[in-house]
Symmetry: C2
Subunit: 87 residues, 2 copies
């Protein structure tokens, strides 16, 4: 499946959240990640995020697609994420 993940974590936990998400997905921009995931890895990702999140302060939203099927992705302004950071 293809996943777009957007998170909003308190700054005390955002570093951990970033590290977890980057294990499974590509970092697109600041709080946005995307990528292909197996069902098993999607379960693992959700479990790892649950383990660090404070449900009263943090949030995560997943858009789940059968395949990568968006027509286009358009970015305006600063590009904070990006795969160049994997180098």
């Amino acid at each position: 499946m293809f996943i777009i993940l957007v998170y909003d974590f308190n700054e005390r936990r955002v570093g951990k959240a970033l590290k977890i998400c980057r294990k499974y997905l590509h970092w697109v921009q600041n709080s946005v990640f995307e990528g292909e995931l197996t069902k098993a890895n999607f379960v693992k990702l959700k479990m790892e995020l649950s383990g660090i999140m404070n449900e009263d302060e943090d949030s995560v939203i997943f858009y789940i697609f059968r395949s990568k099927q968006y027509t286009d992705r358009l970015e305006m302004g600063l590009k904070k994420g990006g795969e160049e950071l994997f180098l």
Copy 2:
């Protein structure tokens, strides 16, 4: 077309950005919006956001689909946005 918008604005401008985005889209969560837009309104939305954004500090990402076709949307944790705020 169906749009998912994610933004990251400096707090000095985020109130204005929220107001603009809510004119055109549904507020899903904190910095995430979605909805059906005509091409003309998409152009207007981009122009309004360009008008307030600082390209060195702020960012906006649009995912563009021909139609609303995600399989599922899953939310974890705090729900900050939401249509209840339109009431």
